[in-house]
Amino acid sequence: MEFRPILSAMLRNKTGSILVALQIALTLAIVVNCMFMAKQKIDHINRPSGMDVGNIISVSSVGFGNDYNHDRTIEDDLRLLSDMPGIVSVSTSSGVPMSGSGSANGFAGSTEDDAPRHTANYYSVSEDIIDTLGVTLESGRTFRDIDVRRADDETLSRLSPQVIITRAIADKLFGEGDPAVGKLMYDGLGEGSEVVGVIEHMYGAWVGWSDFGQVALFPQRTEGPHTRYLIRAEAGRRDELIPVIEKTLADSNRTRLIRNVRSMEEIVKNSYEGDNAIAVTLSVAVVLLLGVTGLGIVGLASFTVRQRTKQIGTRRAIGARKRDIIRYFLIENWLMTTIGIVLGTVLTIAINYSLASAFDIDQLNYMFLVAGMFMLWLLGFIAVAEPARRAAQVSPSIATRTV
């Protein structure tokens, strides 16, 4: 095959070839790193939450005025809501999981002084929380209504005697795989709560937190005048229920204000919006850059074809077939692309390395590099195909016609 003439032709136009190779190299490096970082963000956003996020509605109620009675309001609201058609389950909750706001505390598995403390998000909830969130209990039981302590209970700020925790925090407190049910979990003041149930998996408040899965649910009402309800709707009925719930609650009691009636899906989406914005930005960068590079190759190749019209004609006149001409351009382009890819591989790793050392970026998964290589080979091939086809159309007689 005619590698040698192609190589020597490229060497005659060294700078041009180097520039194409450099362009390919930079494109590979950027595309691979962007794809990798975007994929990580997307995986982060799509982690399974363990909860029925799509069917849950959150409602806040704030009492005002002297007539407001916190505990009565909660009891009335819970009854009203659970009687509404289309609602599967309802519970109070001091916060919405994955919303970005919440409380955390350190807990220990024993009362010994050196027992390590582990941080968990904690929520004050009512008896139906397990059903409302749609989480799966691995062992133990759900709360009963007698577990739930009233807001006017004098002992409110101390831990309630029962707690349901996630497997993630159970593993930390009592050791990997320990059944945990029946054991006591202690706060910093040495007060214990009995673990009555363990949830397979759910998330806490902060999507960016490494211990996101460490959650504890306490059966108790929050101090007034603020309370929040989580409401699980029958599948597909969430959006029709939102305005109904808002109106029903607002009309039922005028000593409080109903606000923030929102789907949990929207709240979760909001928590991830920074991650999402970065994933989208990086993906757009990938598409744009592939476009710019592809068109750049098309432009350069078309230009070269026009410049070489005379030589192509001459080659055709002395016996080269159309496909020889096409092959010439394809191979030339393939050579430049390949040099670029080799350069780009080094550059990709270097960029990943410097990003990883300057910021908190993971080490590159090399599958992305392989995928990027194939993408650029394909891109180079597609970009040069049309100019090469046009080159093959050059008539042999052109050699005799022009000076």
Partner: protein, 438 residues
């Protein structure tokens, strides 16, 4: 001469419309992408109060646990906020020109008119110095007096939005508003204030909006109002009542001081150090002495307002621009080399290397200007696109003149940079060779 060069450049560019379009779009897209990201970084890191950001200090004392620093990633820093006892003690200091303790609290506003539904408003509980210290502009009235701070009087300064809602935008000074169960007298209404960064309280994110209600800080204690911001605690303390929280080591109060000279700053630092020394004697402040005074911009750095992730994306943006430039260099080089015969002819007719150089520089400059315009348009579109993705990015509305200049600077600078090598190459072409072949 310049006009002549411009005409030649235009003619030459028009002759190859496809290649010209490619060059302009490569620069445009590169600049557009880069500037979109730079806009975010620029806006979020620009000084929100440039007139006096050097004289305003976020005050912090390291009251945290002896066992570990407040922030593991930044062990040299003191906690972001103060405890209640410390904030109250600092308010007694005679050193600062102005100072204020502050926190957020939520109130239900109960309008007198039945037509307006009650609504919840986030209030900033602070001292009277807040308004002068941060140069807050008033539409009507002014801040409250000293006695209001001392006696926890029910006075309120409204933001424009709340005043519009409750009073239809009229001068409401002297009128009353019911917050929860109590009635407050309006003493002032402030104009719209939208700093790019909520520098005085970044605990719930740097791009939150300024609160729309302001009340004396002392009210929180008299009425036992729970805060709406972040509360962080390290000590295992039994906190049952509001009074327990007041006495605790929990931090939840922001504190700012205005110090107009380095001498005053030094004096205040000494005052703070003496205060913590005294507290150490009482068994508090178990960590090494670490009292921090940070200017507005220093404080923004500590709070990582321009986050690592934003900087990663910014570096990707610059790499993207570099890739687009290499692309452009290739295209320009190909074009210029192809012009060899004409250049040869012009050189033979007496054009100096300098003249050829200038002419081609004008040509790439023209590409740069066109790319800059395109880049500017694309970056505006990009910013709009990102704003759709991020809900609290409204503060990026305005086009800053500096940003405009930076965009054009980058566009033309990159075009010239991209054109420099091809232009130089073109001048090295020996004229004789080209004359012979034709």
């Amino acid at each position: 001469m310049f006009l002549y060069n411009l005409r030649l450049a235009r003619m030459s560019l028009m002759k190859q419309p496809l290649l010209t379009t490619l060059m302009v779009s490569a620069i445009g897209i590169g600049v557009g992408a880069c500037m979109t990201i730079l806009t975010f970084v620029y806006v979020i890191s620009s000084d929100p109060i440039p007139d006096k950001s050097d004289e305003l200090f976020a005050v912090r004392l390291d009251s945290w646990s002896a066992d570990n620093p407040y922030e593991d990633d930044k062990p040299e820093e003191a906690p972001w906020q103060l405890t209640h006892p410390d904030a109250m003690a600092l308010l007694e200091s005679p050193v600062p020109t102005r100072h204020a303790a502050m926190r957020k609290a939520a109130f239900t506003v109960v309008p007198e008119s039945e037509d307006i539904a009650p609504f919840v408003n986030i209030a900033r509980m602070t001292g009277r110095d807040f308004f002068d210290m941060f140069q807050v502009k008033f539409l009507y009235g002014s801040g409250w007096g000293k006695s209001a701070d001392e006696n926890a009087e029910n006075v309120v300064v409204l933001g424009k939005e709340t005043n519009d809602k409750l009073f239809g935008g009229r001068d409401s000074v002297g009128e009353t508003v019911r917050f929860g169960t109590e009635t407050f007298t309006v003493v002032g209404v402030i104009d719209t204030w939208e700093p790019n960064v909520l520098f005085y309280d970044m605990n719930n994110g740097p791009t939150n909006s300024v609160e729309d209600v302001f009340m004396p800080f002392s009210i929180t204690d008299r009425r036992e109002i729970a805060g709406a911001g972040n509360t962080n605690c390290w000590k295992d303390e039994q906190i049952d009542t509001y009074f327990d929280l007041l006495q605790s080591e929990c931090v939840y109060i922001q504190f700012w001081a205005e110090l107009n000279s380095p001498a005053q700053k030094a004096e205040y630092q000494t005052w703070l150090d003496q205060y913590t020394e005294g507290q150490k004697a009482l068994g508090r402040f178990e960590r090494p002495m670490n009292n921090r005074l940070s200017t507005v911009t220093e404080w923004m750095d500590v709070q990582d307002v321009a986050s690592d992730e934003l900087l990663v994306v910014l570096s990707v943006g610059f790499l993207f621009l570099a890739a687009c430039l290499v692309n452009t260099i290739g295209l320009i080089l190909a074009r210029f080399i192809a012009k060899g015969p004409i250049i040869g002819l012009r050189r033979a007719l007496g054009a100096s290397k300098g003249a050829i150089f200038r002419q081609h520089l004008v040509e790439v400059g023209l590409v740069g200007v066109a790319g800059g315009v395109l880049g500017l348009i694309l970056s505006r579109l990009g910013v709009l696109g990102v704003q759709r993705l991020v809900s609290d990015a409204d503060n990026l509305r305005g086009v800053d003149i500096d940003l405009l200049l930076i965009t054009f600077g980058i566009a033309i600078g990159s075009a010239i940079l991209a054109g420099l090598y091809p232009t130089w190459r073109v001048c090295q072409l020996p004229p004789a060779g080209y004359l012979k072949t034709q």
